[in-house]
Subunit: 245 residues, 2 copies
DNA sequence: CGGTCACTTGATCGTCTTCAATACCAGTGG
DNA sequence: CCACTGGTATTGAAGACGATCAAGTGACCG
């Protein structure tokens, strides 16, 4: 399921010298708010880290000593209850900025799905960076605002949608993922397991599976294999997702 | 249910002259990021508006032409589905800043609960204000981050908690409302209806009512009248809210 | 007093969960 | 090559929790 990384996960010596100048995640992240001339400062404020698939690199409740900027791979964010119930609050990819909790401890955990690379900013270093580059703060506010809108959409899904509507909404959102002003894909891969999907849309694995097979037998989607989805009838799917049955 | 406003809703002539200098909501909002000397500019960038109880002053899907800063009263934010299903995404009070959707349309609706007063900033005016006062952008980012944390907590509630856990969590959150670094109240008023609570925690009016009476008969809370709550056994309530039954 | 509105309480129903069995697939080693 | 293993997904049957439908209560107000 986890595709091989397109570039090796070990550090490239050139990157140690001028890491940010060569970072292919820069345009997709907050870092594009920093002018080229100041990239050295950006690099000095952060350190590069990695997380293997299945590894937790942020733990809910621990001291929030740093912020993370994902530069490769994907991760899931989640909250746990003492008895093990889990709510995944989001899947994040390249360019995503983590740790914006203003409290002194992390409000969620983060676990790598693929091999993940990130830039780690200590709190004080990020603060001085933000003081010197207000444009970066602007970008962060944009990102946070977008996340807030997504969170509200997810609350509607969790609080008021049926199983069928949840799965349809989820699939359509996945089809749009990473695309900006572009036609969503008809076919796409689900990088996460059924269990992850279930904990994201607030249901059980079994109901996810049943709902998917029902959508297939209704001719709305195809499931060539467990990890791939083809949307056959997008208009109908969108109607379902919005509750227009 | 809606208490009389402590001050009349009509405009005070002095406020027209130096509205922000006399604003008693300033310390609780983003506006405290603007130095005293520049309050005139702040006042010129915004216009004061009001919304009577039950009035919708932001409508989901309409062009997001302005931002709002609540200076008096309380409101509920919600999203609707075509068939009328509603999810309340939050209750907001004095100092809350609304409209941070980066999209060109509002992502939610806002309806006044009490008589509401707000300062309205047009998009371009707020933008120049933020350009001139980076500290204000900092404050906005703080607020947005806090909201994001609250949204994640709410997702856990909506996706994974039982009816009893939801109501307990909701009541405890209400008891903490508006308090910073202070003991939560044992007794407090619920300004919203059972219907609002239901649409906030993703259940029906009937289940809210039943769950409340069950909590009362268990001796955990008292309900002197429909709008007031007394928490009799806070530790037990907190255990329930966290799922430690 | 009759009216409305919000809330409460009861009985029944349905959707999703739970429990359980089976299928599937990749990797490993005989 | 094939049996074995562990993880993941699918499918079935039974059960529970909350929703729905319906009736009743109480407060407020003209």
């Amino acid at each position: 399921m986890n595709a091989l990384p397109t570039r090796p996960l070990v550090l490239d010596p050139r990157e140690a010298v001028e890491p940010c100048a060569r970072c292919d995640a820069r345009e997709r992240s907050v870092c594009n708010a920093i002018p080229e001339a100041d990239l050295r400062r950006l690099g000095e404020a952060s350190s590069i880290g990695t997380a293997a698939p299945g590894t937790t690199f942020i733990s809910e409740g621990e001291p929030a000593s740093a912020f993370f900027n994902i530069t490769r791979g994907a991760a899931k964010l989640y909250k746990l209850m003492p008895d093990g119930r889990r709510q995944i609050t989001g899947f994040v990819g390249v360019g995503h900025f983590l740790g914006l909790a203003v409290s002194d401890t992390y409000a969620f955990s983060a676990e790598a799905i693929d091999p993940v690379r990130y830039c780690r900013f200590s709190r004080p270093k990020l603060r001085t960076l933000l003081d010197d580059f207000p444009a970066m703060e602007k970008r962060l506010l944009q990102l946070a605002s977008n996340e807030l809108v997504a969170a509200q959409e997810q609350m509607l899904l969790l609080g008021r949608k049926t199983a069928r509507e949840r799965v349809a909404s989820f699939l359509l959102a996945q089809a749009r993922l990473g695309l900006v002003c572009q036609m969503p894909r008809a076919r796409f891969a689900l990088p996460m397991t059924r269990g992850d999907i279930a904990d994201y849309v607030g249901m059980t694995i079994e109901t996810i599976s049943r709902t998917l097979t029902k959508l297939r037998s209704d001719g709305l989607i195809d499931i060539p294999n467990a990890n791939d989805i083809v949307i056959l009838n997008r208009p109908a799917m969108e109607r379902i997702a919005e509750g227009m049955n």
